[in-house]
């Protein structure tokens, strides 16, 4: 028999998945527009962000109502607490996609600085981490969640690699500083997307096992 809280919890999960889909799409569009030099595609990113923001408010409101009316305990309480946090993470990821679009637009105002190799890789990695963090959430898969957390280091390393490479461009030709900075900021935006995906994965571990693995802790 379903409990009265179950329908509400199922609705929350559906909404988070929908948001996750929009986030993935927003990150993909923002980076593809940059890679393919099509600034008009950035419009879609703003559309996605608008939808994400709507859901952000809805999910918070739904959580508040469930807390007020159902007095959840144990795994239900942990789940709602995690949803509130994941909701914020997804909204911030949407903001990062908008930042990528903004920096991409600036970048595309001039001819390409260099062929983009690492940024598409970073974008794919960040998107994949987001998808798997949400998969882990839906399937209550702690192993997958831990795997997502581990991947964050690789993403950070890619960002550092991009920083170093672009520094050489800037030192060689100060006229390229503005464009190089755009790419550095985009790498930073993608790295932040990965950080949020990591947060989600950490929350999944908390929901399922009650273990807090953030900041390397196991309390």
């Amino acid at each position: 028999m379903d409990r009265s809280i179950d329908a509400g919890l199922a609705k929350l999960k559906d909404k988070l998945l929908l948001m996750g889909g929009y986030v993935e799409k927003a990150v993909e569009e923002s980076t593809q527009a940059l890679i393919e030099g099509q600034p008009t595609r950035f419009d879609l990113v703003h559309e996605m962000e608008h939808k994400i923001n709507q859901l952000h408010k809805e999910v918070d409101e739904d959580c508040l109502k469930l807390l007020a009316t159902q007095s959840p305990l144990a795994v239900d309480l942990r789940l709602i607490l995690a949803v509130v946090k994941i909701n914020t993470d997804l909204e911030r990821m949407g903001d990062q996609a908008v930042n990528i679009a903004y920096n991409g637009q600036e970048y595309l105002k001039q001819p390409p600085l260099k062929p983009l190799i690492d940024i598409p890789r970073m974008a794919e990695e960040a998107r994949s981490m987001t998808r798997e963090a949400l998969d882990a959430f839906v399937r209550k898969d702690v192993v997958l969640a831990h795997a997502v957390v581990k991947r964050d280091d690789a993403l950070d390393a890619m960002k550092n690699q991009i920083f170093r490479e672009l520094l050489t461009y800037m030192m060689a030709d100060p006229k390229k500083i503005e464009q190089a900075l755009c790419l550095i900021l985009i790498a930073r935006n993608l790295e932040r997307v990965g950080d949020h995906a990591t947060n989600i994965a950490e929350d999944v571990v908390f929901v399922v096992s009650g273990q807090d693995i953030r900041h390397g802790g196991s309390s």
């Binding site: 409990r3 007095s71 305990l73 144990a74 795994v75 239900d76 309480l77 942990r78 009650g210």
Partner: protein, 259 residues
């Protein structure tokens, strides 16, 4: 049973307690310690043995025809079931408050509070006056009844009657107070008052409370024991038990999946 770090110097300690009604085995091998000056809650589905266990803690269980028990219950290290121990004396030190307020209908508020002392032969009026005031203040009822102490105890509201019963239990200054669903017959406002009172009371008294209301257990208790089919499944700090229970059965019960 899942349990966190052991309790040192418990005021109350049950060791391998079994309780029976005839052939029915109601409480199975329960070992559990209670820290002084705390509120301990016992939760579990109907018929899980929590109230029966509570009644073994002050020798009320044996009052029921056909009821027996095995094991030890120690109050401050002393076995209350030891040979030669008078159950009446035990119940003076381990008081009890029941689900339905049960003031004596023919007695006034004043007489209800001190009935334990008057039955024991205390007649000194100033002593009794002092006990009435102290106990009613302790039970957070003094301000509401101080001008009508001669009225019958049953003239009070349900919530006030329950606090009167708490005052009556406190009048003999027991170190431990047992409560069996003390708010289940009360409205939310009276319930909130009793809950506030529990938190106040633990400064002087150790409270063990059986409740069906999990939010209540989470709000007022320091530790909670989850009973199922006569056994203690999990005994933990309440903040942990209600947020991250260790046992799947505890999790299922407190999230309403059965019971």
């Amino acid at each position: 049973m899942s349990q966190s770090k052991p309790i040192v110097n418990p005021i109350l300690e049950a060791r391998s307690v079994d309780a029976y009604f005839g052939a029915f085995h109601a409480v199975k091998n329960v070992t559990l310690s209670v820290r002084p000056n705390t509120v301990t809650a016992m939760i579990g589905p109907s018929g899980c043995g929590k109230s029966t266990f509570l009644r073994t803690l002050n020798r009320m269980h044996e009052e029921i025809p056909g009821a027996t028990m095995k094991g030890q219950v120690l109050l401050a290290g002393e076995d209350i079931y030891a040979r030669g121990i008078d159950p009446v004396q035990v119940r003076r030190r381990i008081g009890m408050v029941f689900q339905k307020p049960n003031p004596f209908p023919s007695l006034s508020i004043y007489e209800n509070v001190v009935v334990g002392l008057t039955l024991a032969g205390v007649k000194n009026r100033s002593v009794l006056d002092e006990v009435v005031e102290r106990s009613l203040k302790h039970a957070a009822l003094w301000n509401e009844v101080k001008d009508k102490l001669k009225q019958p105890g049953t003239s009070l509201s349900g919530g006030q009657q329950q606090r009167l019963c708490i005052a009556r239990a406190l009048s003999v200054e027991p170190p431990v107070l047992l409560m069996d669903e003390p708010t289940s017959a009360l409205d939310p406002i009276s319930t909130a008052k009793i809950e506030e009172l529990l938190v106040e009371l633990k400064k002087d008294v150790t409270v063990v409370v059986v409740t069906h209301n999990m939010q209540q257990a989470a709000r007022v208790s320091d530790r909670t024991a989850f009973f199922l089919l006569g056994e203690v499944i999990e005994y933990e700090e309440s903040s942990t038990l209600f947020s991250v229970p260790k046992d799947k059965r505890t999790e299922a019960y407190i999230t309403g999946r059965f019971g």
